[in-house]
């Protein structure tokens, strides 16, 4: 069950010898994720929590058949790590790193598209398929197996919402963070499509926030194509001052989109329920699932 990854997915951890890399490698292993190798240039030959470390991703792929990579590499070197993974044949890239320059991210995403690889992030908590595996940094005890798919731009807010769902007895089929940066690989629309195809997912929770127009595009997609499963959305940022406007050019490209209110209106017009506060999401889901 789940989307994109499962407990057979062979994972390489880039930046495995760093503080965060080591810590989360242990947590992912404990959760059941099949971590087959780690990479830190110059530290090949070491072992972290029983996982062999290599200098290059190519070795990790050749020796262990790694298919997915999770990147903990610091921002100045993260794009290079991502390009190395893609060139070595990695098909699923989870970029945890925050504060990567947008120019670097744009290049990585463009390169990934050519090879048909999936990029989750950057600035994402990753993806978890509760009970099977997590390629990410989310606190796993807040999640439980079930049939609600969660897709979120915000990491911590998605944990919050997953915890509310879990407490109300609604488990999750998968929870994917698309990342909080202006430019990210996987979009809401991509995730909605995957959840629609996934037979274990019965309903979807979409967690958005002020800025950009990915939520509006999701609303447009649902309004145009329809959606076979109930969707509940939550949008953060109704009371914060609007994000810094990126001059006229930015405003044009976004077509005046970006405010939380605008997103809520667009989603409601598309027939999507929008929750007032995180704890309301479970109630709305129950209502829709009963209907």
């Amino acid at each position: 069950m789940g989307i994109i990854v499962n407990n057979d997915t062979k994972v390489v951890v880039q930046g495995i010898t760093g503080r965060q890399g080591q810590f989360h490698t242990r947590l992912m292993l404990e959760y059941g994720t099949k971590i087959v190798a780690g990479v830190t240039p110059g530290k090949g030959g070491q072992v972290v929590h029983g996982v062999p470390v290599y200098d290059t991703v190519a070795e990790a792929v050749k020796e262990h058949g790694a298919e997915a990579s999770i990147i903990f590499v610091p921002a100045p070197f993260a794009a290079s790590a991502a390009l190395e993974a893609l060139e070595s044949g990695i098909k699923v890239l989870v970029i945890i790193t925050e504060r990567i320059p947008v120019k670097d991210t744009i290049r990585v995403i463009s390169y990934a598209k050519r090879g048909g690889a999936t990029v989750i992030g950057p600035n994402t908590p990753g993806i978890i398929v509760p009970g099977e595996c997590k390629i990410g940094i989310m606190p796993s005890h807040l999640f439980k197996p079930g049939s609600v798919g969660i897709v979120s731009r915000s990491g911590t807010l998605s944990y919050e919402i997953a915890a509310y769902l879990t407490r109300s007895g609604l488990g999750q089929s998968a929870c994917v963070g698309i990342g909080g940066d202006p430019v990210v690989g996987m979009s809401f629309v991509d995730a909605l499509r995957l959840f629609e195809e996934d037979q274990h997912t019965e309903a979807v929770v979409m967690v958005g926030e002020v800025g950009g127009n990915l939520e509006e595009l999701a609303a447009e997609h649902i309004a145009k194509e329809g959606y076979s499963k109930p969707v509940v959305a939550f949008i953060a940022g109704r009371t914060v001052p609007p994000e810094k406007r990126m001059g006229h050019a930015g405003a044009i490209v976004m077509g005046r989109a970006g405010s939380a209110e605008g997103k809520i209106i667009a989603l409601r017009r598309a027939g999507i329920e929008v929750a007032e506060k995180p704890s309301d999401i479970a109630l709305l889901l129950r209502k829709l699932l009963r209907a």
């Binding site: 990410g136 915000s154 202006p182």
Partner: protein, 385 residues
């Protein structure tokens, strides 16, 4: 970070974009001297980081150096768009035949850069796009190819030019693109890009926004970036945190922008008013948590504070250590509501419990609690007056 007009123009000039002859002045006397070295008539432009300067009275015209001096002393003692004017750009006034627009920015939906050309410039270009979309052309750029010469010619052609003018614009567009890429600009735009009565092209105004995340590649800009921030913003930014001042009385410290915003929304929903946005970021150290708490608690307007942490990459034990350090070292006793769950939660709670501090588990309950406490403090304060 946003560059001032004079900085943006300097950058463009270094890349060969034609500009009016000009000089920067920080006093009326200096403005006079700059004007003496230029040909009249003149434009005097306040250097403030706001758009719509012209309408706000920040752009004035003069015909002699004496008049420039007079206008300079007016502008230097004025506030434009809420900013006091510290510097002026004195320029030779260009005789304009036509105003155009050219810019490059990041398109989130397209996941790449787009070049934008408009046959009409000088005004708000989004208004042109809405009123007359046929006058605006967008070109999605492949980041590995960039703006090729033929792309630039396509845009120049769209603006209605051929011959030497087309080739001149090709060079200008490419220079703007290169400047933008070299400096990690999220936005670089020339508006208006003027065609002069002599048939030359000149960048009359320019706007550049640099990607804050790329400042490590531009140390000279990084130093300036910190200078422009308020003390709280600077302290937070230097340590990888984000601080935004708001006008309420409930201090807020959270991890993750989304959770922070949702917390602010809930405070408002429950009738309170947040005093700030402070996101400690992912994986905050105890030092950063302590720093964040000090930034928030030291604000006189803060009546009560809420720490709302849901740890993923952030570890609750680090957060607890930071809270205890800050309380020990500041000695400030303002009511504090703590909500702490996630990675290493047990250890975090144990540390706080050891100091007699109870951490809550539910976010909405914690928000309700801090709103009530702030209200009590406010009422108590009113009674004591």
């Amino acid at each position: 970070m946003k560059l001032m007009e004079y900085e943006a123009k300097k950058l463009l000039e270094n890349y060969g974009v034609p500009l009016p002859r000009r000089g920067l002045a920080t006093s009326p006397q200096e403005a006079y001297e700059v004007a003496c070295g230029l040909k009249p008539p003149y434009v005097v432009k306040a250097q403030v980081p706001v758009s719509g300067r012209g309408k706000a009275g920040g752009i004035l015209f003069a015909s002699s150096p004496d008049e420039v001096k007079e206008l300079a002393s007016e502008l230097l003692s004025a506030k434009i768009g809420g900013f006091s004017v510290k510097a002026l750009l004195v320029e030779e006034r260009v005789q304009v035949r036509r105003e155009l627009y050219f810019g490059i920015t990041v398109s989130r939906a397209d996941q790449t850069y787009v070049a934008i050309a408009s046959q009409e410039g000088g005004v708000d270009v989004e208004d042109v796009a809405e009123r007359a979309p046929e006058k605006v052309m967008y070109l999605r750029l492949d980041p590995w190819l960039g703006l090729q010469p033929h792309h630039a010619r396509l845009l120049a052609k769209f603006m209605g030019y051929s011959g030497d003018a087309l080739l001149a614009l090709e060079g200008i567009f490419q220079s703007i693109y290169e400047a933008g890429m070299d400096y990690d600009a999220e936005l670089i735009e020339v508006n208006p890009l003027a065609e002069t009565v002599e048939g030359r092209f000149v960048a009359l105004d320019a706007r550049v926004m640099i990607d804050d995340n790329a400042l490590f590649r531009h140390p000279e800009l990084q130093a300036k970036y910190y200078e422009d921030l308020s003390p709280e913003e600077r302290d937070a930014a230097r340590h990888g945190m984000a601080y935004v001042d708001l006008d309420g009385d409930i201090g807020v410290i959270c991890n993750g922008a989304g959770l922070t915003m949702a917390t602010l929304d809930l405070i408002s929903l429950f009738g309170g008013r947040p005093a700030n946005f402070l996101d400690v970021g992912g994986g905050a150290s105890s030092e950063n948590v302590a720093r964040a708490l000090k930034i928030v608690l030291l604000r006189p307007k803060v009546r009560a504070a809420l720490i709302n942490i849901l740890g993923g990459i952030t570890r609750c034990d680090e957060v607890a250590k930071g809270i205890l350090d800050a309380l020990r070292s500041t000695g400030i006793r303002k009511p504090l509501v703590i909500r702490l769950v996630g990675t290493n939660e047990e250890e975090g709670r144990r540390l706080l419990a050891g100091a007699g501090i109870h951490a809550m588990k539910d976010m909405e309950e914690a928000v309700k609690r801090v709103v009530e406490i702030a209200e009590e403090v406010r009422r108590h304060g009113d009674h004591s007056q």
